[in-house]
């Protein structure tokens, strides 16, 4: 009789069917690892595509610490600081997660509950920070102009970038007003029009002799964007087609549009992972409170969701390096 039994009887009734464990690991944990492997390949596909595009435009790619310079509630330029804080938040919430797993191994229910709770809070704070970062990026800081060839020209004063609002003073003369559903043709609205017209910007450039144009081109010796002389600036401004304020999928005041596309896509996909991680964490958190794992006799579910949470942190480590540092 024994020879005909495929699954040991005492294991029957368990959701994973019991039976021999390959790699001495439970079915659920093993599959979580293989999911993480496949998800890691997805993310590396995105980051490698970012790398390709960046290598393609290696002489004119936006310089990240000129793009992400803001910190909430503080004025001034602080490159890297904010994203470093976000990284710390995520690493810290990874630590509380692993402490929850550790407490689970010792069957300490209240400790698991508290560590899970802190982890969830950390995740929510991270997503909120990401939303603030997006908002700042979308609204833009300085404003720029774009030529018919798609090149972005920024304005500098004494070598420091200056906002359009700081030197364009004359009133708008083209009479352009925002189309809304109320006053637009055929009740169609349009995207937000820039605060300044091209003519206004050109007039202001000609009127202020201390303003210079900065091109996207990176000086390979200095690794900085080249600043054009007044004459070169006037010549390049002749080709200007429109004013760009902030960043979206069509235009980007910081430079290459593909930079903003990759930013939205990669950090967005990561943010989506964080959000789903928070939701799964919350579900497990309530299960812990209800004592489901106490009854089951092990906290392996906490360990599995912990793997996913650490993976989200792992991805951020790479996004941080390849988007903000390198």
């Amino acid at each position: 009789m024994e020879a005909n039994t495929a699954v040991p009887m005492e294991e029957k009734g368990k959701w994973d069917g019991g039976g021999p464990k390959p790699f001495a690991s439970s079915y659920g944990k093993m599959m979580m690892w293989f999911f993480i492997l496949s998800d890691a390949l997805t993310f590396s596909g995105f980051l490698a595509a970012y790398g390709l595009t960046r290598f393609k435009f290696i002489d004119s790619w936006p310089i990240a610490d000129e793009v992400f310079t803001h910190v909430p509630f503080v004025h001034g330029e602080f490159p890297m600081i904010y994203v470093a804080i976000m990284t710390f938040i995520l690493i810290f919430s990874s630590v509380t997660m692993v402490l929850a797993v550790d407490a689970g191994h010792q069957m300490k229910k209240s400790k698991v509950t508290w560590y899970m709770f802190i982890t969830i809070i950390g995740g929510i704070v991270f997503v909120g920070s990401q939303a603030w970062e997006w908002n700042t990026f979308i609204n833009g800081t300085y404003g720029a102009v774009k030529t018919t060839e798609g090149k972005v020209l920024q304005f500098v004063k004494n070598g420091k970038q200056i906002a359009l609002a700081d030197f364009v003073t004359e009133p708008r003369t083209d009479g352009r007003i925002q189309h809304t559903r109320k006053n637009g043709l055929w009740f169609e609205s349009e995207g937000a029009i820039p605060n300044y017209s091209v003519a206004q910007v050109l007039q202001a450039y000609n009127a202020n002799s201390d303003i210079q144009v900065r091109s996207e081109y990176i000086d390979s010796g200095e690794k900085q964007k080249t600043i054009l002389s007044r004459e070169e600036g006037s010549a390049s401004l002749l080709q200007v087609k429109n004013v760009v304020e902030g960043a979206n999928l069509q235009a980007n005041e910081y430079g290459k549009t593909s930079f903003s596309n990759f930013f939205f896509f990669i950090t967005g996909f990561h943010g989506f992972h964080v959000v789903s991680g928070i939701i799964i964490n919350i579900i497990i958190f309530f299960n812990v409170i209800l004592g489901i794992y106490e009854k089951r006799g092990n906290y392996e579910m906490v360990e599995k969701v912990g793997l996913y949470w650490h993976f989200v942190d792992l991805v951020w480590v790479f996004v941080f390096t390849f988007f903000y540092l390198v």
């Binding site: 890691a40 595009t53 393609k56 191994h105």
Partner: protein, 112 residues
Amino acid sequence: MAQAHVSNTKRIWIVFGILSVITLVEVYLGIIKPDALHLSGPGTSWLNWIFIILTLGKAYGIAWVFMHLEGENKWFRRAIVWSGVFLVSYLVTLLLIEGGYISDILSPLVRW
């Protein structure tokens, strides 16, 4: 789950400390960008190599200690790590070579 019932709390905090220090070093270097490291180096700048190596160090800390890969069955660990490392380095190598090639062909056509 070899040390299933032993508490590793102290070790977890040590790893957290190491990860934090690495992040601080990265941020510090990213802000000051010393010219000696930033403007020269093989392939890319020395600074970029430092960032990449420190990042791989952080990834190792997270995967081995936080995700507890160190305690898994040896061949289970290899099935995950070797597959990922091989496929990612293959993809990255091909795409970066291709990106460099496109740049070589394209950039002479752009007038700045």
